[in-house]
Structure formats: C-alpha cells, structure tokens
Subunit: 117 residues, 2 copies
C-alpha cells in the first residue's frame, strides 16, 4: 500500500489585517508528515506569524529545514542580524542553537519542511 | 556559522532531443545535502531520464521522498501501474521495496528531495 500525500494540501487561509499589518493572531500550523525512531518530518505553515518577542526555539534535537514556499527572516541568538530566506533555501540548525522567526510575510502562505533527527 | 544553500541552485540544463523525445542520454544528478549518522538527505534532478528497462531500485534503507518540482511516474514492483506524482507529493518507500522511475518529462527539470534513514 502506497500512501501519497501532498505538502500543499490542507493549507490554512492566509490572514491579512485591515491595514495590511502583520498578523500574529493565529498560530503557525504544524503537521507531522513522518514519525520514525530518531526521525520526525513535519510541515510548518506560517501566515504572517513571528516568534513571540524574546522567545527563542531551543530544541533538543538537530534540525534540517527547507523553505518550500514563501520567505522568512530567521534569527540566531548568536548572530546580530536575521538571515533572509527565500524559497528553496535550506540549512541545518544544530540542537540547542537558539533561533527565532523574526518575520514571515503577512497574507502569504510560507511553508517550511523541518526534519528533526 | 550558518551555511545556507538553495535546492534550486546549480541545476543541470534540461535536455530535449530533436523530435522532443525523451532523453536518456545523460544521468540523473545526485547531490548530497546532508549526511549524518543514520540520515542522508539528497537532491535528485531528472531531466527526462527513466530508470533503465528492468532496473529496480532495491535500497537497504528506508526513504522518504518529496517531489519538489516537476512530475514523474513512479512504479513499484508490487503494483501493476505506475503512480503519477506531481509537485509537492511525498511518500515513504520502505527498505527493499522495489521501485523504478517510469517517466519524467523531457526538457523539464524534475527535482526530488530524498531522505534516507
């Protein structure tokens, strides 16, 4: 049996505030695509959210992330400026390297593929 | 240090034969994106190739594959017909499940993301 799904399926609606300002009202959407021993593949969909102020992801596992669609500013605590990511960009984020999402475009669907290992 | 690369970088030129027929003259392009213990992430770029006749991939590890761009017909030895894949489709191919690529479009760049674990 072959289960085929699509990474663009069941996307949330993009959310734009009345003045085009960034929306942070709703959360990012996390979907498990595969869970196996020592491996977790998930889709993360942003529709204009940023990480809360002073929040840093501090993850116990390594992560490889691919920006499938959209754009984002990814900030590392050990760097002074955010990295600008465009569609197709990928990078490794080692365990416990603190990072946050400084920006994703409001009213657009930004899709991340995250592989935790 | 943050190394950011892009999955659409350094793509081969698409190859079309004089009558628009499928090109099988050149090989698919395999690029390692990440190699870690128990995990291998690679990009595979097809430009119209198919697996050779009667060839089946028979891999010792499990694989999760995402069709990032393009389209393909993926055939499993235990199924009578090929699966039609479009951009964004993903599936798991368990170890030793024999499969082959029956078709990718000639003159187009088809990009696979394969995660071996």
């Amino acid at each position: 049996m072959t289960m085929i799904d699509n990474i663009f399926s069941q996307l949330p609606s993009p959310k734009v505030t009345s003045f085009g300002a960034r929306s942070t009202a709703e959360n990012e959407q996390f979907s498990d695509l595969l869970k196996r021993p020592g491996l977790h593949i998930e889709r993360i969909v942003s529709t204009g959210q940023t990480s809360p102020p002073d929040f840093w992801y501090d993850q116990p596992t390594n992560e490889w992330v691919l920006l499938v669609q959209g754009e984002a500013k990814l900030r590392f605590a050990d760097e002074s400026e955010a990295r600008n990511l465009k569609a197709g960009d990928y990078l490794e984020i080692t365990a416990h390297r603190k990072h946050r999402v400084d920006w994703t475009p409001s009213g657009e669907i930004t899709i991340w593929l995250a592989i935790h290992y």
